[in-house]
């Protein structure tokens, strides 16, 4: 633990430097600008990489090569796609509600950006560390559904409307399961603050410490968050074979790029959230009190741990999508209301009991 580099040293140093040279107001402003730029850069780069990764993973599962022409191993494929999307004509829709039509992609992007700010990437490397961290993330990500509904409604097209309504029903339902499954670990850890949840996993990840209830909660979280981000077996809202592209049918060019990017970044965020809460965040793999083992594990920097774990979860999510057929909307909602939510509630009661009796590790 002591060997881990604490990023708050770096941020503290920058803060001191700025305050020494500018008035406090300007210093704060500059810090905000720096954080914003870094976060934007991270968002863009990770997003670009994820799009490429998806195509490669999809290709491997489907027994073919993915992109391998543009750049070494096809790495610049996404850049090429981005340039293409930026240069596409923005097709204005007749009789569409122009203000809402233009607003919708921005809402979606802003929401996912705001949730990114709360993720702990390493010790001290976290933009916002609220003491209600988990609640903040859940609340903000719920706003994404507004963007989707606006997109579907303002497109003035039956297909988009069907897609948006389906998506709205789906997201609103699955938020419950996501929240309840996260609640189990909050009960274990005793706090909603994300950095504290990570710190409490210094002697083992909650997935293992919390044994069966935590494992069940992790599985439910995985399923529910895949449904939240409209991916995998739950992508009825943008089912190509039925409704062309669902709520973002009518979008072209940069606005479509926003939806597209937001979907991948949402995937990153739910993976990061799951990793933080269940798999230890940036905490290396520690087992109880095995000091020697833990020391070895500490050699790998926390940032690397975080990245590996997040990409593992992302890989799982991608794996689902390319293997399973889609669920129908009523089957999807049945799954949530009749199976996942009762399971979550029972799990919660069990966990509360465990914590009360002190039977967890």
């Amino acid at each position: 633990m002591s060997k881990m580099y604490d990023f708050s040293q770096l941020t503290g140093a920058i803060d001191a430097y700025l305050r020494a040279n500018m008035s406090p107001g300007w210093a704060v402003f500059t810090e905000l600008v720096i954080i914003g730029l870094v976060a934007l850069l991270l968002y863009a780069l990770v997003g670009l990489f994820l799009v490429y990764l998806e195509r490669k993973v999809c290709a491997i599962i489907q027994n073919r090569y993915g992109p391998n022409r543009v750049g070494p191993f096809g790495l610049f494929q996404t850049v090429a796609d981005l340039i293409k999307l930026l240069m596409k004509e923005l097709i204005p829709i007749a009789r569409a509600d122009k203000f809402l039509f233009n607003l919708a992609p921005f809402i979606v992007i802003i929401v996912s950006f705001m949730t990114l700010a709360a993720m702990p990437f390493a010790l001290g490397l976290q933009a916002i560390d609220l003491n209600i961290g988990v609640l903040y993330v859940l609340a903000v990500s719920s706003l994404g559904v507004v963007g989707i509904l606006l997109a579907g409604w303002s497109s003035n097209s039956k297909y988009s409307l069907i897609g948006a309504i389906r998506s709205g029903a789906q997201i609103v339902s699955y938020e419950l399961s996501v929240g309840l499954s996260l609640l189990t670990v909050i009960i274990f850890a005793g706090s909603m603050q994300l950095s504290e949840i990570v710190a409490s996993q210094a002697d083992g990840w909650w997935l293992f410490k919390g044994h069966i209830p935590a494992f069940a909660a992790f599985l439910i979280f995985l399923i529910a968050s895949t449904a939240e981000i409209n991916r995998g077996p739950f992508d009825l809202a943008e089912a190509e074979s039925e409704l062309t592209a669902g709520f973002h049918t009518e979008y072209s060019g940069i606005k479509f790029a926003f939806f597209f990017l937001a979907e991948f970044m949402n995937m990153f965020i739910v993976a990061a959230l799951g990793v933080t809460v269940f798999l230890g965040g940036w905490m290396p793999f520690h087992v109880g009190n095995w000091e020697g083992f833990n020391q070895i594990m500490d050699f790998i920097p926390p940032l690397v741990w975080f990245t590996l774990k997040t990409f593992f979860v992302i890989y799982l999510i991608m794996w689902f999508k390319w293997t399973f057929p889609r669920l129908r909307i009523d089957q999807l909602l049945t799954l949530e209301w009749k199976y996942l939510m009762p399971l979550c509630l029972i799990n919660l009661v069990i966990v509360a009991f465990l914590v009360m009796m002190g039977w967890h590790f």
Partner: protein, 378 residues
């Protein structure tokens, strides 16, 4: 609400204000081909649908009245292009029976092997597209990857992958490539190992069961009444395999089963086709080692004139019963040639079996009926 038994849509049902019509097609990723379905929806539920066809009507029956019989072979290829070989064979058999020509045994065996290879390739493409429609996008690649092996065999012997026009009244256009037997056997051993993968990916998947069991139920009476033949009819228990009831070519000498299921839902139709793939492989295996030596064609006159009269020939394509009704007046072109295409009858049962279901079910059901639109329009 239940749909009434009235099959003729005479009046537009006076709808409540929540009804709206959407068009599925003619350009749509999942109606494979140009088919327009006008679907009346109430929320997510399909109340009724009206198919509109004719986007690819080429007037094949009219063209047949001006073409000689060997030219008609090339037209029939393009009807149900995934069972091109069976379509050609139907015309050839009709001409041969009318002229009472005895084709060599070799021709019969090769025709049957090619029939079954064609049926396999067609079912593989159906499986690929069906999985893709339901969202399991990987099935598309697996199915087509294996289908390429069959198309390679075809290309080696005939020069083209899909539309061969290889059959000719009296026999074949030319003999098959010397590698044909070897490659077919290689393919059989390869595909037998791959088929369990198909079952692992789709057949045993719980989500797939939810999407297909109990969906699009068609009773046996409905299947007979609407003339739904082929695997779609056999999924409802309608025993209609022309290879059993009116065998032709080498079918009398092979042992195979007609796969029937009684559940009548999408899953039953799916399983019938999967079983048929295995049966096709069994048939090919029985024949491929025993192809008799001999001529690849019987001696035919250069200009074929059928005696005046009426002829009726039926074959089993991958989708059902193709029947050709020919009226000849003794000339070298037919007087009237009517193609009873299986997809034409199969399409019009769609309204009956999807009413009351959801849009997502419409996609699953029309995928399980395996429609090829050029066959409907001719």
């Amino acid at each position: 609400m239940t749909m009434s038994e009235e099959i003729i849509i005479k009046d537009i049902i006076v709808g409540e204000s929540e009804d709206y019509m959407i068009n599925v097609g003619p350009q749509h990723p999942s109606t494979h081909g140009v088919l327009r379905l006008e679907v009346c929806l109430q929320g997510e539920t399909v109340k009724y649908l009206i198919p509109h066809i004719g986007y690819i009507h080429r007037g094949i029956e009219k063209m047949c009245e001006f073409d000689t019989y060997s030219q008609i072979i090339h037209l029939t290829d393009r009807m149900d292009y995934l069972s091109a070989h069976m379509n050609n064979e139907a015309v050839c058999l009709m001409v041969e029976n009318a002229l009472q020509v005895e084709v060599p045994e070799r021709v019969k065996y090769i025709r049957t092997i090619l029939d079954e290879l064609n049926r396999l390739a067609s079912h593989q493409l159906w499986w690929a597209a069906f999985g893709m429609d339901l969202g399991a996008l990987t099935t598309f690649f697996y199915g087509l990857r294996d289908r390429e092996k069959i198309l390679d065999i075809f290309e080696e012997s005939f020069g083209s992958r899909l539309l061969h026009s290889f059959n000719y009244p009296g026999g074949l256009m030319h003999d098959v490539h010397p590698n044909f037997q070897k490659r077919t056997k290689e393919f059989l051993s390869y595909f037998r190992k791959k088929l369990p993968e198909y079952n692992q990916l789709l057949t045993d998947n719980v989500i797939f069961h939810q999407r297909s069991k109990g969906i699009g139920y068609m009773s046996k009476e409905t299947a007979i009444a609407y003339g739904v033949t082929g695997p779609s009819g056999r999924g409802s228990g309608f025993s209609c395999d022309v290879r059993k009831y009116a065998p032709y070519s080498a079918y009398p000498v092979v042992k195979f089963e007609e796969k029937l299921r009684t559940e009548g839902d999408t899953f039953a139709r799916y399983l019938v086709r999967m079983d048929e793939m295995v049966e096709s492989m069994n048939i090919i295996e029985q024949l491929v080692d025993n192809i008799p030596e001999g001529d690849f064609t019987a001696k035919m006159r250069p200009v074929l004139k059928l005696p005046a009269g009426e002829y009726f020939q039926r074959v089993e394509t991958a989708r059902g019963e193709l029947a050709i009704y020919l009226v000849s007046d003794g000339n070298k072109t037919p007087y009237r040639m009517k193609f009873r295409s299986p997809n034409f009858s199969n399409l019009f049962v769609l309204n009956k079996i999807t009413a009351g279901g959801k849009i997502a079910d419409l996609v699953a059901v029309s995928g399980s009926l395996d429609l090829v639109i050029p066959d409907i329009d001719r």
